[in-house]
Amino acid sequence: MDTTLLRIENLSKTFATVKANDNISLEVNKGEVVALLGENGAGKSTLVKSVFGLVKPDSGTITIKGEVIEAGDTAAAIRHGIGMVHQHFQLVPVMSVAENIILGDEPHKGAFISYAEARESVKELSDKFGLDIDPDAIVEDLPVGLQQRVEILKALRKNVDLLILDEPTAVLTPQEIEELLQVIRNLSSQGVGIIFITHKLREVLAVADRIVVLRNGKSVGTATPKESTESSLAQLMIGREVIFRLDKKEAKPGAVVLEIDDLYVKDDRKLMSVNGLSLSLHAGEILGVAGVEGNGQRELVEALTGMRPTVKGSFSILGEVAIGKNPHAIHTMGVSHVPEDREKDGLIATLSIDENLVLNQYKNPPFAKGWIRNIAAVNSYAAKMIEKFDVRTPSGKYPINSLSGGNKQKVVIAREMSQDSKIIIASQPTRGIDIGSIEFIHNQLLASRDSGVAVLLVSAELDEILSISDRIAVMYGGKIVAILDPHDVDRTQIGRLMAGATQ
């Protein structure tokens, strides 16, 4: 019996001048988990989008269960039993969870949607996979982790033969990641073929049967988890050796630059989510905020950057009370912000890469002289940033939306880290970024800290927090429950504190 489920033959796709996919061939067998690895912009998303009919390849064929599927036809891909979880959420924010999950294949009586049945099927689905969700919640009110869950449930509902997961773990907590890996194992034991894209090599080594590595649009090698290590995979991806080593000198903390005093902030559902939090941040240190998502980190960051009103308490920046100031005023006080959701708060989708790189200083010299903008200065500055932060694009004139996910994130980082700020508030700064670039960004954060900048790092990646922080603040239930020294803590201790245990 033929066990080949999916066969991609000689697939190529060029965008303008970028060869996103260059003659790629790939097979997935029934019940096999194939991990797709590659740097930001290597062409992973383009490849799987072609399989799902979202991108029309220039040449090549895609066969599933022996049948050639028509290029660029999503409905056909769905009919052939392909499901996909997208790197950028494909959800309708104003609709409910149930409506999002049933969209396109709605349970119905005549023309009418049967909402009772829809709710029922969402319940069943979340029980079956152990992914709990409220079918009536409105998607835009949910934190990203839960939105990702909706995406996953949506793909699973259709009883797929081939499931494509494009960086599903980027926004999940370690606990949720473990649950998802379990779901993947279950599905594959039922014969479902899976293509799994991630930048976290640990996950690859944990679930993949086979690893395929892309570089610059070409398939450059295959490996199995048994014969690979994190560094051998990294080498294959990047084409050079990666030394996982940080340039971390002793910190020299200075004066307090951010003082938070008994702060209260409400979330979107009007529930108190920052609950009397006090914290001080010193110049020249990286303070890592560790915590399970949904414990008030997002609201804290939004309050500190002026994006969300506070209820009670206060905070001051460089000795000046900053409560009630708008984001622009806070930015002018010397605060940079790498927001958690790059698509929503970090970039302007319709502008070019160049313009996105100067959003925070377009009206200052040399980018403007009085009322007149100096486009040439913008372009040459942007070109330097693109080079320095290794943003993969032929030119900064292209729209920001032509970039791959990780490269968009690099644009946000490049913009926020390249101004003379006193404080950098970075929320999930390396989300969706490949390991080579993570190393670079970490070194940049350390360099800023050495030059006297204060960094508030909020991250769901415990490894990230442990490796670059000078102090670790554990956040639980909207408060800081412990301040730890990264030199003498262990993961289990932090884990327990994050789960609400008292010290």
Binding site: A75, R79, Q90, V92, L103, D105
Partner: protein, 335 residues
């Protein structure tokens, strides 16, 4: 039902406004029954074409297409409908032609905006200018509508005290149809598969596409259904309400309808309520003119409905959120 009642905020301006309106109505009714009835009835008559025209806007925008060409669509269909009716001596054929003209006009709009990704405001403007120029050029005086429509009383409803005589009596067939069409559009938008897909295409076409929904086809169809309604309104005005075609008879109706659509938060029932409110204000202004309020210049009275609408809009605006993808053409590979 119980939930709706429980969740109703009795201090909200909507509630107070409704109570005030009903109280005012009862007061006027007891003061002078005939005039009140005629004002309310003509309010309905003024309001209905606006309400229907705003349905055109709703069908288009909920699926992600901004249509400012409603004005032109109505003008063209009123024109063809009226002349076909008057030459064929048959108003039913006239109405059918009006509807077909609406579909055709919106098809042109849909091709320009959805298929070719042209700027939607420009496309709408082209239709408006074209319609106005073409109809004024071809316009000939002296034609008349051959006959008139029968008039109905809705059996049970017209007997309701207070409401019945003014709202449900003496209705022409198109007006009657409108009263049925608007709730039907609401049901379609909110309860059916078609509606869910329409809204998804208007909010996030990428999400719809990944769910296997054909975004282009969905938008084309909705815009053309909108066009059919637009044709109906054009026919309604020329064949039933006024009974003749005059140059630029729409006089801004299409744009007012768009404002009412926003006022009604893109909800068919909301837009209907807004349109009726506007119609009543207009009827009231007319009544004032009849009473001969002589010490105020006429112009001030004619602008009353507009001022009224602007005031209501300004005070009730709150959080108005249009469909997120309205106005944005969808291209597959960009998403």
């Amino acid at each position: 039902m119980l939930n709706t009642i429980k969740s109703f905020n009795f201090k909200s301006w909507k509630f107070l406004l409704s109570v005030a309106t009903v109280a005012l109505w009862i007061y006027c009714y007891s003061a002078n029954m005939d005039i009140t009835n005629s004002v309310v009835a003509s309010g309905m008559r003024f309001g209905m074409p606006l309400a229907l025209a705003s349905m055109v806007g709703i069908m288009c925008e909920r699926s992600g297409v901004i249509n400012i060409g409603i004005e032109g669509t109505m003008l063209l269909s009123g024109f063809t409908g009226f002349y076909v009716a008057s030459y064929s001596k048959n108003i039913v054929i006239g109405l059918v032609i009006a509807i077909l003209t609406g579909v055709l006009t919106s098809f042109v709009h849909a091709m320009m905006t959805i298929k070719w990704g042209m700027d939607q405001i420009i496309a709408g403007t082209i239709i408006n200018i074209l319609a106005s120029g073409l109809t004024s050029f071809l316009y000939r005086e002296g034609s008349t509508v051959p006959n008139t429509w029968p008039i109905f009383d809705i059996p049970v409803l017209s007997k309701i005290p207070l409401l019945g005589a003014s709202l449900f009596s003496q209705l022409g067939p198109i007006q009657l149809f409108g009263m049925f069409l608007i709730p039907a559009i609401w049901v379609m938008m909110n309860k059916t598969r078609w509606g869910l897909r329409t809204r998804s295409v208007g909010e996030n076409p990428g999400a719809a596409d990944t769910a296997g929904i054909n975004v282009i086809r969905m938008r084309m169809t909705n815009v053309m259904i909108g066009g059919a309604i637009g044709g109906l309104v054009g026919g309604f005005i020329c064949l039933e309400l006024v009974g003749s075609f005059s140059k630029d008879f729409t006089a801004g109706t299409g744009f007012t309808a768009l404002a009412l659509m926003i006022f009604g938060r893109w909800n068919p029932l909301g837009a209907f309520a807004a349109a009726i409110l506007f119609g009543l204000a207009q009827a009231l202004a007319t009544q004032l003119q009849i009473f001969g309020v002589n010490n105020v210049p006429n112009q001030f009275i004619t602008i009353l409905p507009y001022v009224f609408t602007i005031l209501v809009l300004a005070f009730s605006a709150g959080k108005v959120r249009p469909p997120a993808a309205a106005g944005k053409p969808y291209e597959k590979e960009q998403s």
